[in-house]
Amino acid sequence: MEVQSPGSSASFFRKPLPPSAPPPSPGPSGPLALPTGGIRRRLSFHGTGGGLFAIHVVNVLFILLTLGIYYFWGKTRVRRYVFGQTGFEGDRFAYHGTARELLLGFAKAFGVFFLPIVVLTVVRDVLDVDRLIKGAAALLISLLFLMFIPVAMVGARRYRLSRISWRGIRFSFHGRALEFVKIFVAGTLLVGLTFGLYYPFFVTRRQAFMIANSYFGNERFGFDGRGRELFGPFLFNILLTLPTLGLCWFWFAARKRRLFWRHTSFGTARFASGVTGGALLGLWVVNIVLLVVTLGLASPWVRVRNIRFAFRYLDLRGPLDLERIRQQAQYASATGEGLAGFLDTGFDLG
């Protein structure tokens, strides 16, 4: 049951069960009884919609007063609150990003992507040049757009993970942008060529890249999911789309989440999700109603609802050996040379 009163430290943390078996006595034969204990660890969220709303109001005021420049500072404040109110095993997470970094990330994206796209659009539409040049410009625009999305995804993930810590240990992301661009572009083309049938494989490959390259300290997350496990449900859902007026996709989304979490591990521990399609649908419907009735003002409460929902259904099972973890921080300053290095430095658009 959720505890809704503001300020109380509502926690979904369940104390671990004591080992059920007594410590094994040394003997000449017989296996050791390992106390796995059935521990389930959960994330807890202590923030409230009201707290987030208060931050939002002040953000809006300063954004208006500074004609938008405060946007990055506001975003950082919100993130600091959301992560600072998330707890695990009795300790809170912490967010270390700064607004200046967001500003720089935005400038980087602007210079590398938006500006060339604008210039090329002008060449394609407005200027009076050779048809061949116009065609080349159009092609470059599509290419830039297609490249931008995966680069932004990788950059954002690298930045955000490197700015989050738990018990002082930072997360990090070691995937390379160019590799993900290949996965993304090839995947998108394949999805198009197969009229969408490749989609479950594509989405699983993306998830594998994102998870398997994420680290907490020096320990990496693991992902062993396969696209073909999702393929059957995907086909089934396509058939059901018309009869259920599309509602069956909530159940697909839940299934996908359960599958992905089931195949995500950290050391000897494994995640598990109990989310159901019905629960997702319920969450979505109430969110929409709240937003419509309040003309969008309820969005901080909706955000908190979403976080609490996600945490309610997710747990980490199995032994968690934190003693082996060592700090391995990754700074967002340039780590490589050339465009690949430039793309690989973490940047977030905000």
Binding site: G51, V57, V60, Y71, R167, G168, E323
Partner: protein, 367 residues
């Protein structure tokens, strides 16, 4: 003031919690871990990173990017800490100040509402009026061409080299009476039964066959054209576009979400496609259009008669659509009539030509 507190210590290199005891000494915090090590944290090097919300644990950090940390579960610790060491370098507002912060937040909320209202009602229109005249004409012409390609594609234009010069002559006479402008006006007739006329930025005026055929004299068309010419001269489309973009950004600021402007951008495209203007812009086009008619010595009765005719009941749907995109016709007629005092005898438009023939510029309609 309590001196000793329970805490746990994080060394910044491992994920292990070390249970510890914290003592408030004169020069700093003494940290004694269960394992037996002792550390002294000078007060000036300590910063507080968590503990401003009720029920939150207090977290103190010391060090650079990857600091050591102390977590004290009892928030009452803060009072003792700041009593013992007022010079602790960076601190967060404690839960005690929540009442004041709440009041400030409410104040901020009121300020947001006031600012938003001011921006929307005054700031954005002022900005649009300021920027629109400074937009290069070449840009407006490109925009206009793009709009025309959509609304009046070449395949649907009525091209009649014999009758077109008559219509162009009307435009030329009106433009000659207007103050000099950088625009070159083009009149296009579209072969559709809609009773409508519109102006695209840069000087393109589109008249639909339906409207053309309902005019009884060239003066009536001149009235409509004068209105559209004024839309161009006053750069209403460009202003509307700037206002739309700014309003979209205002929405983004309020919701903290950039998807709003994207949706708003699509909305802008729709508005541009229909070339809808604010009531203010329409009134301005009406007023100035009438003045233009008078300056060109065209009889103003034509415009009034045309609007009168359209305002009658039992009009087909196409007429009602035209009227719905403009302010109330009765009000328009009343206001225009007040202005329609001709300074001298009007000079007839196209005196030697048969208007009934000219207005059949479009080929007989294909169904």
């Amino acid at each position: 003031m309590r001196i000793e507190w329970e805490a746990h210590y994080l060394d910044g290199q491992t994920a292990i919690r070390h249970p510890a005891a914290v003592r408030l000494m004169r020069e700093g915090l003494e940290v004694v871990t269960a394992g037996g090590w002792t550390r002294l944290w000078p007060y000036r090097e300590i910063r507080q990173t968590q503990g401003s919300y009720a029920g939150e644990e207090v977290r103190l950090e010391r060090g650079g990017e990857l600091p050591e940390a102390l977590v004290i579960p009892d928030p009452a610790f803060l009072e003792s800490l700041f009593e013992a060491a007022p010079q602790v370098s960076a601190r967060l507002p404690g839960p005690a100040g929540r009442g004041r912060r709440l009041r400030l937040t409410v104040l901020a909320g009121g300020a947001v509402i006031a600012l938003t209202g001011a921006f929307y009602l005054w700031g954005i229109p002022a900005l649009a009026a300021l920027v629109a005249p400074r937009v290069p004409v070449a840009w407006e012409e490109s925009l206009g061409r793009a709009v025309i390609d959509q609304l009046a594609p070449a395949a649907e234009l009525c091209v009649d080299p014999r009758r077109q010069p008559a219509l162009d002559a009307i435009v030329a006479r009106l433009v000659a009476a207007a103050p000099p402008s950088p625009y070159r006006f083009h009149l296009l007739v579209v072969n559709r039964p809609a009773v409508n006329a519109l102006a695209a930025p840069g000087g393109y005026i589109v008249v639909f066959r339906g409207l053309l055929e309902r005019t009884r004299t060239p003066d009536e068309l001149a009235g409509v054209l004068a209105h559209e010419i004024e839309h161009v001269l006053r750069r209403h489309t460009t202003r509307a576009l700037i206002q739309h973009v700014s309003t979209g950004l205002l929405l983004a600021a309020l919701t903290g979400d950039m998807t709003g402007p994207l949706a708003y951008g699509l909305e802008s495209a729709r508005v541009l496609g229909q070339l809808q203007y604010s009531r203010h812009a329409e009134e301005e086009a009406d007023m100035e259009g009438m003045k233009l008619l008078l300056a060109a010595r065209v009889a103003p009765d034509g415009m009034l008669a045309f609007l009168d005719e359209l305002a009658k009941a039992d009009q087909p749907r196409s007429v009602r659509t035209y009227l719905s995109t403009h302010p109330s016709t009765r009000d328009r007629i009343a206001r225009l009539r007040a202005l329609a005092a001709a300074p001298g005898p009007p000079v007839p438009l196209l005196p030697d030509q048969d208007w009934q023939d000219i207005k059949r510029l479009c080929p007989p309609a294909a169904p």
